[in-house]
Each structure stands twice: as C-alpha cells, then as structure tokens.
Amino acid sequence: MHQTIEITVHYFAKLRDLTNKEKESIEIAMESTPKDIYKQLNEMYGLPDNPNLKIAINDSFASWESELQDKDKLVFIPPVTGG
C-alpha cells in the first residue's frame, strides 16, 4: 500500500466559488506535486483546465513540480487584481 501524507489546500477568488470552500485537508500520495493535486481537484470540482495560476507552499511562491511534504499548506494563486 502506498504511503500517504496530509496537506491543506486553501482557495481564493474564483477557485473558492467553484469549490465552495475556503480550505480543506486532503490525503495524498507521498511525492505528489501541486500539478498532481490540481489534476485531482480539477476532476473533483471542475476547476479550469488550463489555469494561469501560481503556486504557494507554506506562504512562499513555489513550483508546480515541488514535492509536497506532510502538513504543507498549498495555495493555487489566480492572477491578482488588487489596487
């Protein structure tokens, strides 16, 4: 059996509306990347297919290929529109 870890995903803007959640904890396979997680969430919630999103892990910008660790906080960041 594959070992799993637990991470928390936080949602903002359009992604919050589509998931109807501010955040959630999910169990994922070890060595998963944000790319893997987005694929799962896309199937689960119908998120955009070709998203122009940035990634943050534990409140720092990160890559789509970063390997997630147990207890990580993952955020998919839509194009910003402040000001």
């Binding site: 936080h10 903002f12 803007a13 359009k14 122009n52 943050a56 720092s60 194009p79 910003v80 529109t81």
Partner: protein
C-alpha cells in the same frame, strides 16, 4: 510598512509625520472604488486577500522601492472585504528629499502591488450579477 485592513481607510488618520527634516517631497496615491467598469454599473466591490503572502510580497515591494529610488520612507495599506463606491481601496505614501524620486517610487509601488500582491477584486453590479476580475498576471 505594508498593511492589510478590513476597516475603512481614512487617509486623514494615517500617520503622515515626516521621518526627518531632510524630507522635501511627499507623494500619495489613493485607489478609489468607482461606479463603473467596462460599460457596467458597479454597485460595490469585494476584495479577497491571501494575507500571509500579501504582507510578505507587499513588504518586499516597499523594500525594493527604497533600494531603487532615493526615498526616506514608503507606506502602503490595502483594504479587504466589501467596499462601497467612493471608499479607498489602496493608499500609498512616499517621503523623499526630491519630487522625482518621490513620484517614481509611488508609481512603482502601486504598479507592483497591482501585479504581484495576492489580492482579488470581485465587482458586484447594479444588475445583481457579480464577477471576479481577470488579472493580467
């Protein structure tokens, strides 16, 4: 200092004391909620913010402004939550010895905040519809 607030921003209440007697210029930019966008009548705005990263990124922008231009101090505060027409959404203030650096730094800060700080704007229209604006990023 970069701040996020849910409270109404009252520019007159923001501490504007000069940091030193060498300051000869003060530039302020205020972004205000207007009642229209792209031909639609806007009733109010809602800003959502990823606060932990917004403060990090906003503070980095202010630090860059201090390194890039000859300024004495830079300050920025951005509102979140629901805003009415006419309310201040963002306020930037720069102190410098001279006006060129003061103007340029103020412009740099607001431009970078709009490009980089994780804040999102939803327009709520008179028609009852609403939509998240699509960013350029």
């Amino acid at each position: 200092m970069f701040h996020i607030t849910e409270e109404i921003i009252l520019p007159n209440n923001i501490e504007l004391k000069f940091p030193s007697s060498k300051v000869g210029a003060k530039s302020i930019f205020e972004g205000i909620v207007r009642d229209n966008n792209l031909g639609k009548s806007v009733k109010k705005l809602e800003y959502q913010c990823y606060e932990e990263l917004a403060i990090k990124e906003g503070s980095m922008i202010l630090k860059e402004a201090v390194q890039k231009y000859k300024i004495d101090d830079a300050f920025c505060i951005h509102r979140t939550g629901k805003l009415e027409i006419g309310e201040t959404a963002v306020f930037v203030r720069v102190f410098a010895a001279h006006r060129d650096d003061s103007f340029q730094a103020c412009r740099y800060i607001i431009d970078e905040v709009k490009k980089r700080v994780p804040i999102w704007k939803k327009e709520i229209y008179e028609s009852g519809e609403s939509d998240w604006l699509k960013g350029a990023g």
